[in-house]
Symmetry: C2
Subunit: 343 residues, 2 copies
DNA sequence: CCGATTCTTTGAATCGTTTCATTGTTACGA
DNA sequence: TCGTAACAATGAAACGATTCAAAGAATCGG
C-alpha cells in the first residue's frame, strides 16, 4: 500500500541528515556508534530498502553483469551460469541471465535490455554475428567476454574449452586400454566442436603405429542417431568391428549403448569399449556406466567473471583468451580387462 | 571510452528541449514529423541509449519481474521460465531470473536483490518458509504469485499442477489397457508430489473392482533407485508380479526399464506395462519409448505472468489459484496388445 | 584553558529521465 | 483582421541515492 520509505524518511525518523544515513549504509566506520544505532533502528522500523535505481543513477553504472547463453536447459550452460553467479556474488555483483535459445533476435533483445540497464559488462555465448554490436559496447565502456568461443585476443577476452584436446584424451584412453580399431561417431563435421574432437582423436591415433580410426557420420547428435550407428555396427561381421568407439557426445554414446545392449551380440566394454563426451548426468546411470570427457564448466563460469573484472579494472584494452583442457572420466564402459573381471 | 550520451546531449544536438526528446521516445504522436526526424537522427548519431535507472527512478517502479525457481537445470522449470519470459515480453516487461537451488539462503538473497531493484512483482517457487517476507512485500505493493505450489487464495495467487489428477491419469491408463495388478514405485511419501500421485493412482484403482495396487517405496527418485526396484521385481515368481507399473517420475521408470531389459526375463510392455511422470526428453528415446504424464509447463509460466498482471492492475487484493491438469502421453511402454504386435 | 587535530555530521548539488503547467505557433471560421 | 481552438515545444521540478566541502564537536598536549 504505502509507498516504500526513502533515505529521507529514514533521516527524519532518526533525526539525522540524509548524508549520515548514506554513510551508515556505505561507510559505517565514519559514523559514531550512537547515531549508527539510531539510524539502523529507524531503517528497521520503516522497513527501508535501498532503491537501486537511484543508487546506480548516481553511480553511473549498475552492479549487475549480463550473461547471455545459448540454452539454459543445457546442463553445460546451467553449470556455467551457476558458477558465474557465485563468482559474481563474491565480488558484490549480480548476474542478469538471458537465454537466447540459439535465436539471434532474442539475443539482440537481451543486448538492448542489458544496455539500457547499464550492466557493468557482458558475458556472451553468441549466436549470430554480434561483433559489431560488441565493438559498439566496448567503445561505450562495456567490456565483453566471450564464453565457450575462442576469440581474437586483440579484440576480446574469452574462455573456451579445447575440444581437440578432449578428442585426443578420449582416443588416447581407448588406445591405452589396448584398443586399436577405433571408430568415431559424430554428427556433421561442419559443427566446429565435432570437427575439433575428431581431429584430436585422429592425432592420438596417429601416434600409435598399428591403430586405425574409422569415421561414422551420424545425422545428428541425439540418442536416436546413436542408436542408428549402433545398429549399423551390430550388423557387421566380427572382422569388421571396431573394438573402441568414441562418440562426439554422450547422447550418441547412450544410443549406441542402447542398441548394443538390446541386440545382446556385443558386450560393453569387453567387445567394444565406449566413451562419450560432456559427462551429462545420465552418463553415470546408464546400463553400463559411461566413460566420458568432462568439461570444466565451473572454471569457465568463474574465469569469465574474473576476466571481466580484469577488463573493468585496467582501462587499457588488454584481453586474454583462456583455454581450458577437459578431463577424462573413466567408468565401466571402458574398464580394462582386469576391472571388467573385478566387476 | 566516452561517457554515454544523455537525453540532454540529444536535445542539444537536435536543438530541441529535453522534454521533446522524451516525448519522441514515449509519445511520438505529440511531436511533429519534422522535429521527430531531427531528434531520431540525433539519437542515431550519438548512439543514445535510454538509461533505465533514471527512467525507473522517476517512474517509481521498474519494468522487470522477478522469478525465483528451485533449479534452472530442471527441464520442468526451464520450460516454465521460457514461457514466462515470452509472456512478459509481450506485455513489455523483462524477467530477472534467480535460481535458488533449493537453498533458502540463496532464495533470500534473490528476494533482497529483487526488492532493491523494485521489481513490479515476484513469481516464486519457494524453498523455505517465505510467507513472512512475501506478506511484507505485498504490503509494499509488490504482488507475488506462487509457482508450482498451491496457495491459500485468501493470501496469494498461485499456479500449480494437480498431481492427484496426474496419478489418476497414469493408473487409469494402465487399467484401460487391461492391467489389473498394478504397482507404484516412488520415493518417500513425505514428498507431497509423490504422495499426491500415489493418492490419485489409488483413487483410480478403487474404481475397478478386481484391480489392486501395491506400493514399492524407493529410497529416492533416481535412475539407480528405479533399477533397484526393477531388480526386486525381477526376482519374484511369476504369480507375484504386477502387470502394470507406475513410477513417480521418469528417472525411476527408466531405471526400472534398464533393469528389466538387462535381465531379459520380462518384456515391456507385454509382461509389464510401464509409465513414468514428467515426460522428460529422455522418455521418448528410451530403449522402449516411455509413456508418461506431461505437465503443462508453458501454461504454468504464461498464466503466472497473467495472474501477476491481474494483481498489478486491480489494486483490490483479489487472488486466484489456477490448477492445471496434466496430460497423458502414450508411447510404446504401455502400448496395448494390438499396438505391440504392430511394432 | 587554548589551539591544533581528529572525528562526526551536515545538506546542497548531482546523476538522467519523465511529467506537466506554461508558452509559443498555426489554422480556421466569422 | 481578430479570436479561438488545436497543436507543438519548452524547461523547471521531481524521483532517491551518493558525494564532498564545510561546519561543528570532541580530544589532547602543553
Amino acid at each position: 500500500m504505502s509507498r516504500s520509505a526513502s533515505i529521507k524518511d529514514v533521516a527524519n525518523h532518526a533525526r539525522v541528515a540524509v548524508g549520515t544515513v548514506s554513510n551508515v549504509l556505505n561507510y559505517p566506520d565514519r559514523v559514531s556508534q550512537r547515531t549508527k544505532d539510531r539510524v539502523l533502528q529507524a531503517i528497521d522500523e520503516l522497513g527501508f530498502v535501498r532503491n537501486d535505481a537511484a543508487r546506480q543513477l548516481r553511480a553511473g553504472h549498475s552492479r549487475t553483469i549480463g550473461l547471455i547463453v545459448l540454452d539454459v536447459g543445457n546442463p553445460f550452460f546451467t553449470s556455467v551460469v551457476r558458477a558465474a553467479e557465485d563468482a559474481a556474488a563474491l565480488q558484490g555483483s549480480a548476474v542478469l541471465l538471458g537465454d537466447s535459445g540459439h535465436d539471434a533476435g532474442r539475443e539482440s533483445n537481451y543486448i538492448d535490455l542489458f544496455q539500457e540497464q547499464r550492466v557493468q559488462g557482458l558475458l556472451i555465448s553468441p549466436v549470430g554475428d554480434v561483433t559489431e554490436r560488441l565493438d559498439q559496447l566496448r567503445e561505450r565502456g562495456v567490456p565483453t567476454v566471450l564464453v565457450d568461443r575462442l576469440a581474437d585476443e586483440a579484440k576480446y577476452s574469452s574462455v573456451s574449452v579445447d575440444d581437440d584436446a578432449g578428442g585426443y584424451l578420449a582416443a588416447r584412453h581407448l588406445l591405452d586400454i589396448g584398443r586399436r580399431r577405433l571408430a568415431f561417431v559424430g554428427g556433421p563435421t561442419s559443427i566446429r566442436q565435432v570437427a575439433d574432437r575428431l581431429q584430436g582423436a585422429q592425432r592420438a591415433v596417429a601416434e600409435v603405429p598399428d591403430a586405425s580410426l574409422e569415421v561414422l557420420d551420424s545425422a545428428g547428435q541425439t540418442v536416436l542417431a546413436g542408436r542408428g550407428a549402433g545398429d549399423q555396427l551390430a550388423r557387421r561381421s566380427a572382422g569388421e568391428l571396431p573394438d573402441g568407439v568414441f562418440c562426439a557426445n554422450d547422447l550418441l554414446a547412450l544410443g549406441v549403448m542402447q542398441s548394443l545392449t538390446m541386440l545382446r551380440t556385443l558386450r560393453i566394454p569387453e567387445d567394444i569399449a565406449l566413451i562419450g563426451y560432456d559427462d551429462i548426468d545420465f552418463a553415470v546411470s546408464a546400463v553400463v556406466p559411461l566413460s566420458s570427457i568432462r568439461q570444466p564448466t565451473e572454471a569457465l563460469g568463474r574465469t569469465a567473471i574474473e576476466l571481466l573484472a580484469e577488463e573493468l579494472e585496467s582501462d587499457k584494452p588488454t584481453h586474454r583468451a583462456v583455454i581450458f583442457t577437459p578431463e577424462l572420466v573413466v567408468r565401466q564402459s571402458t574398464a580394462g580387462p582386469q576391472a571388467a573381471n573385478a566387476a
